[in-house]
Amino acid sequence: MRRRLYRHVAAAPGEVGRDAAAEAVGISRSLAAFHLDKLVEAGLLAVSFRRLSGRAGPGAGRPAKVYRRAEGEHVLSVPPRSYDAVSRLLAEVVENAGLDRELQAAAKAAGAAHPDAVAGDLVEVLRARGYQPFWDGETLRLNNCPFHALAEEFPALICGMNLALLQGLAPDPWSPAMEPCPGGCCVAISKNKGR
C-alpha cells in the first residue's frame, strides 16, 4: 500500500494532497496520511503546505499538507553494484571520442527493438522505462528523466541519445518534440499531424 502511494505521488505531475492520494489508492484519509508521512521520513517524498481551497487570509483555514517526489536519488542493489560510475566513465569516453552518432543509432535501434514498442502500447513502454508518462490533452509528457544525473553532466550527448531512444520507442505516427517538463524529461510526445 505504501508502494502504491509512493507510485501515485511520484508519477503525478504536481503536488498531491492527502485526500487525492487516499482516493487514488482506495484507502481512508488517515491511513494514507500515516503512510505518506512515513515516506517523507524515509526521504522518498517531500512535503509542503498549501491552501487547496484557493482562499487566502483569515478564515481560509489551515494550509493542507501536500506531497511530491523528493529530489534525491535512491538506488538499491543487492549485492552492491556501481553502474553509475561505469556509465560516467563510458559517457566521458564516448563524448571525447565524438561518437554521438554511433550512440544515437544504437539508442534508436534499442528503442525500436523493445517488444512492447512493437506491440504499440507506448504508455506502458514509457512507464516500464521509468519516464512516468502522463497525458496532457493529446500530448504525452514525461514526468521523470531516467538519465537525470548523467544528462546534467553530459547534456548534449545524453539528451541526444534520449531523443533517439524515444524516436525508436515511439515511431510514426508518434512524434517526439523538445518540450521540457519541469523536473522531468525534455521530450514530449504527440501524434504527428502531417508535420
Binding site: 571525447n96 571520442a97 565524438g98 561518437l99 554521438d100 552518432r101 544515437q104 553532466e153 547534456p155 548534449a156 539528451c159 541526444g160 531523443l163 533517439a164 518534440a177 523538445m178 521540457p180 525534455c186
Partner: protein, 169 residues
C-alpha cells in the same frame, strides 16, 4: 535587473566548406535556430557578421578558414542552458559531429560582462584561450564549472540568485 550579463562563445571546426553538401543541413537550420534563440527567455544579444543574419562570415583564426565562431549574451547561466539543452536547439546540437570536428582543446567559454557590453571576436577568443591555458576560472568558465558574477559574490547577504551555482560537481 542584473548589473551583469553572461557572455558565451564557442568555436567549431567544420568538416567541409560551409557551402558544400556536408554542411547543407546545418546551414538550412541556421535561420530557424537563431530565431529561436532571439525569442528565448533571457536572450540579450548575439554576434552577427556584415551580412547581418548570423556569424558564419567570421573566421576568428586567420590561419584556419574552417573555424566558425558563435557568440551571444544572456541574462543568466540558467537562461543560456535552457536554450542550449532544452529546446529544439538540442536537435541541432545532437548532430554536431556530422558538421564539426571533435576538438581536443577547449572550444567554448562563458564570462560575465557589464550589462550593455557587446563582446568582440578578439575578446571572445581571448576567453577561450584562458580556459585552454588555465582551465575554468572566474574570468572564463564552462557550464560544468560555473562561477558567479562578481556583484553576486560580494553581496552574499542579498536575495538568492535565480541561477543555481552548484558548490559541488
Amino acid at each position: 535587473m542584473t548589473a551583469f550579463h553572461l557572455a558565451q562563445v564557442n568555436v567549431g571546426r567544420m568538416v567541409a566548406p560551409l557551402d558544400g553538401p556536408e554542411l547543407a543541413d546545418f546551414v538550412a537550420q541556421l535561420l530557424e535556430i537563431n530565431a529561436l534563440a532571439d525569442a528565448s527567455p533571457g536572450f540579450v544579444w548575439r554576434m552577427v557578421d556584415d551580412e547581418g543574419e548570423d556569424a558564419t562570415g567570421f573566421r576568428p583564426d586567420e590561419n584556419d578558414d574552417m573555424l566558425l565562431i558563435n557568440c551571444s549574451v544572456w541574462e543568466s547561466v540558467g537562461a543560456l542552458r535552457n536554450f542550449v539543452y532544452h529546446t529544439d536547439h538540442l536537435r541541432v546540437l545532437s548532430r554536431r559531429r556530422e558538421w564539426f570536428r571533435r576538438m581536443a582543446e577547449a572550444h567554448q567559454a562563458l564570462w560575465w560582462i557589464p550589462a550593455g557590453h557587446r563582446p568582440s571576436v578578439a575578446e571572445a577568443m581571448r576567453r577561450i584561450a584562458m580556459v585552454r591555458e588555465h582551465g575554468p576560472g572566474p574570468l572564463a568558465f564552462t557550464f560544468r564549472d560555473p562561477y558567479p558574477a562578481r556583484a553576486r559574490t560580494v553581496q552574499a547577504s542579498g536575495p538568492a540568485s535565480d541561477v543555481p551555482f552548484p558548490t559541488t560537481r
